[in-house]
Each structure stands twice: as structure tokens, then as C-alpha cells.
């Protein structure tokens, strides 16, 4: 069975329109007879889907439940559970004045990184889709930021920006762009902007390759037809290529949103030494609650909020873009 046939047999309405596209109608017959045996079907399927269910419960639901549970407990500094406090941890959180700024910064962080990464990847993928000598090597080179550890990439930039020994700082001074080394990672705004740059850099390989895969599915004959009809390059790209990329793009955006939202290491390294909360996002704030203040309960509460935000964003996105819908 091809995946296409599978969707057919499941989604098929009872009205037999099958003749129109000439496909076999086996699914309809089975669905009619199945009403009484559905439960038996479920049981006979259990051995096959059981392990997957265990996996989902074990690694997805169980930790989420523990997290939600912890967020309603009073956990001491040394990790002892002192009993339930209801929503007190959430109240602590909402009374925390910098939280508003942290939320706004989180939105800026996700929006900026994903937008820039996707736009850059569109251009990059278009370039890599052309045949030119050495394309294979360039394609491999694009993978490097993905293959390198994020922490390592970030540390390289971090030390490059260091005030006394940083090579990037020295370069900027040498080309007279700045007069003296600047504390890029010691001021909230500049550290945040650099972090966005690094996040874009490490997001490029995945996004580019997803789009590249999408480009490969654009049929050559359609492009040729467009050419024959006299469509210009921009027109061809906007009207022919982009719509064909919808599937690849929506997957790339969705996964990037979740990844970037949940990303800790870049911001932790780049903005970690900055006092106050002027460069924090939800993720670094969760980390500060655990690492500096040892408040596992409040950190759990913030994690739950972060979790809900991701769920809401994804729900809105799925509703608007319908990435699962076939063209």
C-alpha cells in the first residue's frame, strides 16, 4: 500500500464517488461491516501500537505530568517536597515584574530568528538547487553549523567578542568600525542581537535542506511551461515555485518555532553574565530559577506556561497554515 492509498481508505466518505478517479473501493466495504467488530479490531491492534503508546506515555506524557505536578508543590531548596501550595508558584511568577519584558523578548527572539532563518534559507536553497561545479562540496559545507555542537559554535563567537582577547572585536577595531573594543556580550541589547545571529546560523542547515527537498519536487515541466508562457523569473518564483514549497516551508517554520523557543544554550552563554533580566527569555529565566535561586517549583510553573505557549502557537499555526493538508 502506498501512503496515498491509506489516506484514501480512511478519509473516504461513505458516498461511493470512487468511480470518478477509478480507484479500488475496498475500504468502504470494510468500514460498513466493521461497526460491531471495532473493539476486537482495537484489541488485535494493541500488540502493534502498544509499544508506541508506552513510548508516548514514558517519554512524553509522564515527564509533562511530573512537571505540572511539581508546579503546584512547595519544593525546598534541597529538593524536598513540602506539600501542595495550589497556584502559589504561579502567583509568585505573575508578581515578578520583569516577566512582561521576558515574554516580549521571547516573542522577538522566536519571530526574528525564524523569519531571518527562513528567508536566508530560501535564497540559499535556490542557489544550491542550481547546477554548478563543486555544488556537492558547497552543499556539504552548509551542513557544518548543524554538525558542530551549538555550545561550541556559540563559544567561538563569545570568545571572539571578548573585550581583551576577542578576535572579532579586534577586527572591528582594525577596520575602524569602532574605536575601542566593545563589550558586545556584556550589554543586553548587543548580546541579544548577536545571539539572534548565532541562532539563525545554526538554524540554516535544517531549514535549507528542508526547502531544498521541497525544490526537488517542483516538476521541471511546470517550470518549462511557465517559461513558454513568457513568465519572468520573479513571476515564476512567486506564482509557481513558492506554492509548490508550501509543504516544505510549513514544516520548516513549525519545527523552527518550537526549536528556537526552547533553545537555551546560545542565550545562556551569550547573555549569562549580564546583570538584571534585560536579556532573558522564558527559557533562560527557567534556567535562572533552577540554577541561581534553586526554586524548582517556580521553575516548573514557568515551564508549564512555556509549554502552554508552545501548544497555543502551534495550534494557531496549524489552524492558519494547515501544514498537514494536501495541496
Amino acid at each position: 500500500m502506498t501512503p496515498d492509498d491509506m489516506t484514501q481508505s480512511i478519509d473516504e466518505p461513505p458516498v461511493p464517488t470512487g468511480a470518478a478517479n477509478g480507484r479500488p473501493r475496498a475500504g468502504v466495504v470494510r468500514a460498513r461491516a466493521a461497526a460491531g467488530t471495532r473493539l476486537t479490531d482495537l484489541f488485535s491492534a494493541l500488540p502493534w501500537i502498544g509499544p508506541a503508546l508506552i513510548l508516548i506515555f514514558g517519554v512524553v506524557l509522564f515527564p509533562a505530568v511530573v512537571m505540572i505536578y511539581n508546579s503546584t508543590r512547595d519544593i525546598s531548596l534541597s529538593g524536598i517536597d513540602k506539600g501542595s501550595v495550589g497556584f502559589e508558584n504561579y502567583e509568585t511568577l505573575f508578581a515578578f515584574a520583569p516577566l512582561g519584558g521576558i515574554m516580549v523578548r521571547t516573542v522577538i527572539w522566536v519571530f526574528a530568528v525564524v523569519t531571518i532563518a527562513v528567508l536566508a534559507s530560501l535564497a540559499l536553497a535556490q542557489f544550491l538547487n542550481k547546477a554548478f561545479p563543486g555544488r556537492q562540496i558547497v552543499r556539504m559545507a552548509v551542513l557544518i553549523p548543524w554538525a558542530a555542537s551549538v555550545v561550541m559554535t556559540t563559544l567561538v563567537v563569545y570568545y571572539g567578542l571578548e573585550g581583551y582577547i576577542g578576535i572579532i572585536n579586534k577586527f572591528l577595531v582594525d577596520i575602524n568600525l569602532i574605536d575601542a573594543p566593545y563589550g558586545w556580550t556584556k550589554n543586553a541589547t548587543s548580546a541579544f542581537v548577536w545571539s539572534i545571529g548565532i541562532a539563525v546560523f545554526v538554524s540554516l542547515p535544517f531549514t535549507t535542506y528542508t526547502i531544498l527537498a521541497g525544490l526537488a519536487t517542483v516538476p521541471a515541466d511546470v517550470l518549462e511551461a511557465a517559461k513558454m508562457d513568457g513568465a519572468g523569473r520573479i513571476r515564476t518564483y512567486v506564482a509557481i515555485v513558492l506554492p509548490q514549497l508550501r509543504g516544505a516551508l510549513s514544516v520548516a517554520v513549525l519545527i523552527n518555532i518550537i526549536n528556537v523557543f526552547n533553545s537555551l544554550p546560545i542565550l545562556k552563554i551569550m547573555t549569562g553574565s549580564i546583570p538584571g533580566y534585560d536579556a532573558d527569555t522564558v527559557m533562560t529565566m527557567i534556567f535562572k530559577y533552577i540554577q541561581n535561586e534553586h526554586k524548582i517549583d517556580v521553575a516548573s510553573a514557568l515551564s508549564v506556561i512555556a509549554f502552554l505557549i508552545v501548544v497555543v502557537i502551534v495550534a494557531i499555526y496549524v489552524k492558519l497554515v494547515k501544514p498537514m493538508k494536501e495541496l
Binding site: P51, A52, V59, S78, G79, G183, P275, Y277, I290
Partner: protein, 417 residues
């Protein structure tokens, strides 16, 4: 069908792995508890002070196991950054270490997880601890920590830079410090007069230098007092240093360790250092001419910030008390303890250790300061929150935020606990 069978197998394997992994995190089996009187295993959790730490403990453990065949010691070395997370996770999973080397322990004491120290060391060992450390090792009059090592702070001065700037005398008061540091900064070429690390790494220590130096402080075991007129003077002086350009740039976000490297490279005139700084200079830049001096204070009164780290013993199931006592007594005997603390380049906390080490010239200036040492109120249950507030907030002083506002903000965080 064959294909899905294989898939099922893969998924089942993954599920099994996931479930057994989850099992590990939530209360798996514990090591043998020695109830049968045979082999007892002691779990020892220590942070890493230097690259030598692991080897030093392994030597102690080897000697101890040779002398006590029925006890084995499992060593776990963690970085200071991770130590707290590791022990919190262990406590949550009912797998607390038997002996731990750490900083603040008031939280563990409050949760009744610790043995009072007199229950796990002999009277001789207990009497050998220097009295000045006992108070900061106790909560409500009960001593829970066995002082392990101490450090004191002092002003490290790069003599060459000061001479180059025309400063002839090492500053003893704030006014002298400001004048000297400003002159050194004027040398230019990336040279800073005073190294001010108000970044999160150890912001509380640098703040203490100025707050205690102004006659203020952080409070005591019952009350945290950050927002006081004396501390305000200290905070305002920090801002004065920054505004005068007497410090390195971005003082509010500069961490201590990287800044110390810059001092060792000879680019900073004065900085507050620790006993291990002596070794760092000997290793990194032995040609540098430097001196170790008392910390300048507002009126020139001598003061140093002392920090003592402790060994603490967790009760767990209460069956290992005898083994823990044996280990601690063994460790604190002078022929084990003195080589250990010497190699780590810290100050001893026992009387016998102190008298064995007073011929050590590197440490002499620090040993002399120790009687004037002030300690953090680390037995105050709110100290952890205070400490965290300093780390994340006090750097704003160097970014030009109003000093009073910063103090109030820290006080509020500390009071919230």
C-alpha cells in the same frame, strides 16, 4: 506485515529503553547499606577546586580503605556549577550522598537531612576546629558543618603598573584607591586601574568587599540587611569607581575568573584575589612583580571576607554513622589533612593544620588576616535567595542604575526568600 513486525520490535525496544531510563531517575536501587556489618559503601560527593582535586581525594580514599577493609568509598567529583543541581536531584530521588563537600548547608539542615557534626566526628576532631569557624558552621547553635578549608581575600597589586602610573604607596582607604586606580587607568592601552568583577559569577563577594568595607554587611543568621545606609555608601563608591573610569569596561557583566586572567596577564593594576591567585600568577606570569595587601576600606580599618566550605554528613537511612565517623576522623588527622589543603592552596580550618602550615610564606598574609574575617550569613535560610539576588542584580550598579533602587530590589528578593 513483516515490515510492521520489525517496526514493532524497534518501537518496543525504544519503549523499554525509555521506561528503564525513566526508572533510573525516579528512585532506583540504592547501594549496599552495610546492614549486615560487612562491606559498607560511603558515597562522597565533592566539587572540584582545581585539577588536583580528584587525585587528592583518591589518595585519601586509598589510604583510608587500606586502613579500613570493611568500608569502601565511592567518589563523585562535580564542578561547582553543577554541584547544587546534582545534590538536589539526589536528595529528591532519596539518594543523598553520605558525605558532601559544599558551601551553604542551611537548607539541608532545615530539612533535617544532616547529622549534627558532633555525632559523626570524635571529640578530638571536634575540638581541633578553629573556634572562628564554628559559628558559621552552625544553625541555631547546632554545628552541622565540618569546616574543610577557608579562604580570605586580599588586594593583589601589580607593582609595575602602579610605579608606571607614579603611585608610590599601596592604597589603604577608598579615597587613595580611587586616586591610584584612576592614575593607573590613564596609562591606556587597555590597562585598567581596578578590576571590578560585578558579573554574576561571584558578584556577592565583590559586593561584600565594599559593603563590609563601609561598615555595613549582609546581616546575620536571623536577618538579612542589604538596604542599609552603610551599604548605600559602599554601592555609591562602586559607582564612583566606574564613573571615574578607574575600572575595566562593563564592570557589571564581568565575571571573576576571566578578569583574574587579565590581571595575571599584567593589564590590571589592582584586584581582590584569593590564596589560589598566588599559584595562578606563579604558573601564568611568574615575572610579574606583585604584592598582597590588606583590602582598602572606607576609613582604613582592616577587614577581609572569609569563606569557609564544609563537609556535611547526610542521615539517609541512618545506618552508616559509624563508617562516616571513621572517615571524617581519618581525613582530619594532620598527616592526611595538611597535604590535602596545602595542595589545594587554601587555608586550613583546624588548629593542628594551622600550626603545621604557618611556615608557608605564600599563605602567611592570608593567615594573618583570618582573625578579622567576616563571613556571609550563610546559615540564614534566606541567604540562598540573597546570594542569587546579588548575582543577578548588583551588576546594575555599574550600568548606572540608581544605587538605592538596586539595594531595595535585592532586599525585596532576599525577603521573599
Amino acid at each position: 506485515m513483516k515490515k510492521s513486525l520489525r517496526m514493532g520490535g524497534i518501537v518496543a525496544t525504544a519503549a523499554l529503553a525509555a521506561v528503564s531510563l525513566a526508572g533510573c531517575g525516579f528512585g532506583g536501587g540504592t547501594a549496599s547499606d552495610g546492614a549486615d556489618g560487612k562491606a559498607t559503601t560511603l558515597n562522597l560527593l565533592v566539587p572540584s577546586y582545581s585539577d588536583n582535586t580528584q587525585g587528592l581525594w583518591e589518595t585519601v580514599i586509598k589510604d583510608f580503605e587500606a586502613a579500613n577493609k570493611d568500608i569502601t568509598v565511592e567518589l563523585e567529583v562535580q564542578s561547582w556549577d553543577n554541584l547544587n543541581d546534582v545534590v538536589t536531584t539526589k536528595v529528591q530521588g532519596n539518594k543523598a550522598p553520605d558525605i558532601m563537600n559544599g558551601g551553604p548547608f542551611a537548607g539541608f539542615a532545615a530539612d533535617e537531612l544532616l547529622y549534627p557534626i558532633e555525632d559523626v566526628v570524635s571529640a578530638d576532631t571536634l575540638g581541633d576546629f578553629q573556634e572562628s569557624f564554628v559559628e558559621s558552621a552552625s544553625v541555631d547553635g547546632v554545628q552541622y558543618g565540618a569546616p574543610l578549608l577557608a579562604s580570605a581575600r586580599a588586594l593583589f597589586v601589580n607593582e609595575d603598573l602602579l610605579a608606571q602610573a607614579g603611585v608610590t604607596e599601596v592604597p589603604a582607604t577608598w579615597d587613595e584607591l580611587l586616586a591610584a586606580a584612576t592614575k593607573v587607568s590613564k596609562i591606556g592601552g587597555g590597562v585598567a586601574g581596578y578590576g571590578l568583577p560585578l558579573g554574576s559569577e561571584e558578584a556577592q563577594a565583590e559586593s561584600a568587599i565594599w559593603f563590609y568595607g563601609a561598615g555595613g554587611g549582609f546581616g546575620d543568621a536571623t536577618e538579612i540587611t542589604v538596604d542599609t545606609p552603610e551599604n548605600l555608601k559602599g554601592a555609591e563608591f562602586i559607582q564612583k569607581l566606574v564613573e571615574a573610569g578607574a575600572t575595566q569596561p562593563d564592570a557589571g557583566a564581568t565575571d571573576r575568573s576571566p578578569l583574574m586572567d587579565v590581571f595575571v596577564q599584567g593589564k590590571i593594576g589592582m584586584i581582590i584575589g584569593l590564596p589560589p591567585t598566588v599559584g595562578q600568577i606563579a604558573e601564568g606570569n611568574p615575572e610579574m612583580k606583585y604584592s598582597v595587601n590588606p583590602i582598602p576600606t572606607m576609613d582604613g580599618e582592616p577587614f577581609t571576607l572569609g569563606v569557609a566550605d564544609h563537609l556535611m554528613a547526610f542521615k539517609n537511612d541512618g545506618k552508616k554513622q559509624a563508617a562516616i565517623t571513621k572517615f571524617l576522623d581519618f581525613f582530619y588527622s594532620a598527616d592526611q589533612y595538611v597535604p590535602w589543603v596545602t595542595a589545594e592552596k587554601f587555608l586550613p580550618t583546624t588548629k593542628s593544620g594551622s600550626s603545621a602550615m604557618d611556615s608557608n610564606e605564600d599563605l602567611l598574609p592570608f593567615l594573618e588576616m583570618l582573625p578579622d574575617a567576616q563571613f556571609y550569613p550563610s546559615t540564614n535560610p534566606k541567604w540562598d535567595a540573597t546570594n542569587a539576588a546579588f548575582k543577578s542584580l548588583v551588576g546594575q550598579l555599574a550600568q548606572g542604575k540608581d544605587a538605592q533602587a538596586v539595594l531595595s530590589e535585592i532586599q525585596a528578593k532576599a525577603d521573599a526568600g
